[in-house]
Amino acid sequence: MNRIEARFQALKTQGVSAFVPYITAGDPSMDLSEQLVLALERAGADVIEFGVPFSDPVGDGIVIQEAAQRALQRGASLRKVIAAVRSIRRTSQVPLLLFSYFNPILAYGIEAFARDAAEAGVDGVLCVDLPPDEADDYKLALDQAGLCTVFLTAPTTSDDRLRLVGAKCTGFVYYVSRLGVTGEQTALAEGLKDAVTRIQRLTGKPVAVGFGISTPEQAAAVAGLAEGVVVGSAIVRVVAQHGEDPALVETVETFAGNLAQAVKGQT
């Protein structure tokens, strides 16, 4: 079984939620990103979203936009991200989800990408600007390669579309809990419990909630409602602030560890 699916199933029997941190691959460097993935695993990550930098990230707020730009300036590319996963797999079996935009995958070649990513040890892919109704070729290629296909849902998603997304998602469904781009928020979206319940009912899949979760308190609150808690910008910000700091990896591990404990109800 795919590592992402296996992890969600194991967590279900334990009755706890998944902690799903995000980092941008290649920020501050690809070597350090590999180390950060291992640090996030030690901190208690269940699935790690590994962001593929793109020049025009329309779904992202300023923190992740800037991280992508730093990574691209240092030569990051989808090919190098896949190579980094291959290197991580020498020492770690942590479930890895690539978080990408469509054009780098299209330029790579969808089938070649699916084959190379799976061979390197990627477990799934979330493509921000590829809704399921445009994803026929992509879905086919990723299914054949054994990769999970995670799609987004939003507060504006209709019941019919939730059923469609549910049918196309494997692993879990990602719920963008508020209108807008990625970024930290001081308050959680209202009506989150009802929204998550509706998505669970109509998709029949585990739901991970993301966009705007930045503190252990928020993470703990979301963990009580959904099968997964995604934290992105808050971690990327810590990476940005400590990019030149020799203690970067330890700092991120500590920061993520607090979030992980909150998700697991250990605070």
């Binding site: 329309v58 730009q69 790579y108 809704p131 987004l152 504006t156 579309r161 209108l179 781009v181």
Partner: protein, 411 residues
């Protein structure tokens, strides 16, 4: 005019987009899930508006009395005599209110926003013409208007920035990426994702996710509908060639669309050749681009081998964009339209030639179409005709052009 409209066979011979918003393999709707509902809502509102005689007559009345349509189809005798060869007609979109074709779409979409009950509109702008048009239509219809513009473009187009503010719009500087049009679109999409429930995004060209390329084309197709009637009135037959510049491609689609079924009418789209056809120095997507997906639509995209979007250059901000409308991509691959490019220098030469032969200062964008006309007209016979879309007037570009033409001398 009505009797000629019946003669156009475009919708039969060119049945695009299909039900999935595609033009062959191009187009589509590649957006974050949050926006899917807004695009569905927009398409439904658009189809209902276009079937509503009250909406259509309101639009037509405002086009006539506010925009000043129909714009003239002007026979440019001195330019024709100067070049020798085909008779040249200029479709005078520069005489439309606000000085460019952009108002055709901005007015239509702002009327749609009102119909959808959305009190706020946003727009992206490069040179500022679409921003000015949207700010104008918003003032006319009492909508709140925010315009995203790259900080580099704000610096280059100060006059248009002030015009927008005068019209009551807020101009929001975009400091990310290359700080130009592409980045303004990214930021407008981020705004739309966040405020989608009460905001309509007035996209300014035939690009972006479906239904935008269709809506913008349809609102701009008034250009070709008028031109087709006008040339039949003046010449008694259809033209031999149409020429238009292509950035996103809205003025070109607007002129071409009504003629697509007329297989004897040749069509030429002119992209920005910049300083050279090497990466980063031009914006000729059909010369240097590859299949890609940028900002919602599958099309031709200037990009590197890793799928990162390339930098572009043109003397004209309105053509300085890394992708091109998906319908143009279809017309390129089908061969129905020929795409070529004009360099910065050729455009500047054309800018001066039209000014002194006809007393018409064209926008630098439109000057690219004139540049192609300068090459093509002399190769055609005197009994043949060309319609050039003079998509905008050049007042906004005088300062920019002076920099190149005077080479450092004071204006």
């Amino acid at each position: 005019m009505k009797e000629y409209e019946a003669l156009s066979t475009t919708s039969v011979k060119h049945p695009w987009p299909d039900a999935r918003g595609r033009y062959g393999r191009f187009g589509g709707r590649y957006v974050p899930e949050t926006l899917v509902y807004a695009l569905d809502e927009l398409e439904a509102a658009y189809r209902s508006a276009m079937a509503d005689p009250a909406f259509l007559s309101d639009l037509a009345e405002r086009q006539r009395n506010y925009v000043g349509r129909p714009t003239p189809l002007y026979r440019a005798d001195r330019l024709t005599a100067h070049l020798g060869g085909a008779r040249i007609y200029l479709k005078r979109e520069d005489l439309a209110h606000t000085g460019a074709h952009k108002i055709n779409n901005a007015l239509g979409q702002c009327l749609l926003a009102k119909r959808m009950g959305k009190p706020r509109v946003i727009a992206e702008t490069g040179a500022g013409q679409h921003g000015v048009a949207t700010a104008t239509a918003s003032a006319l219809l009492g909508l709140d208007c925010d315009v995203y513009m790259g900080t580099e473009d704000i610096e280059r187009q100060k006059l248009n920035v002030f015009r927008m503010r005068l019209l009551g719009a807020r101009v929001i500087g975009v400091d990310s990426g290359s700080k130009t049009l592409k980045d303004a679109i990214n930021e407008a999409m981020r705004d739309w994702v966040t405020n989608v429930q009460h905001t309509h995004y007035v996209l300014g060209t035939v690009h972006g996710p479906h239904p935008f390329p269709m809506i913008v084309r349809d609102f701009q197709s008034v250009i070709g509908r008028e031109a087709r009637c006008q040339i039949l009135d003046q010449e008694g037959r259809l033209p031999d060639a149409l020429i238009a510049c292509v950035g996103g491609g809205s003025n070109a689609m607007g002129l071409f669309y009504e003629f697509l079924g007329d297989t004897d009418v040749a069509m030429v789209g002119v992209e920005a050749g910049g300083t050279a056809i090497v990466p980063g120095m031009h914006a000729a997507r059909f010369a240097g681009g590859a299949l890609g997906m940028l900002q919602g639509a599958m099309s031709y995209v200037l990009q590197d081998k890793d799928g990162q979007i390339g930098q572009t250059h043109s003397v004209s901000a309105g053509l300085d964009y890394a992708s091109v409308g998906p319908e143009h991509a279809l017309l390129f691959t089908s061969g129905r339209v020929e795409y070529t490019h004009a360099s910065d220098q050729e455009a500047l030469d054309a800018f001066q030639l039209l000014s002194c032969t006809e007393g018409i200062i064209p926008a630098l964008e439109s000057a690219h179409a004139i540049a192609e006309t300068i090459k093509r007209a002399p190769t055609m016979r005197a009994n043949q005709t060309i319609i050039v879309n003079l998509s905008g007037r050049g007042d906004k570009d005088v300062q920019q052009a002076a920099k190149f033409i005077l080479k450092g001398e004071e204006i």
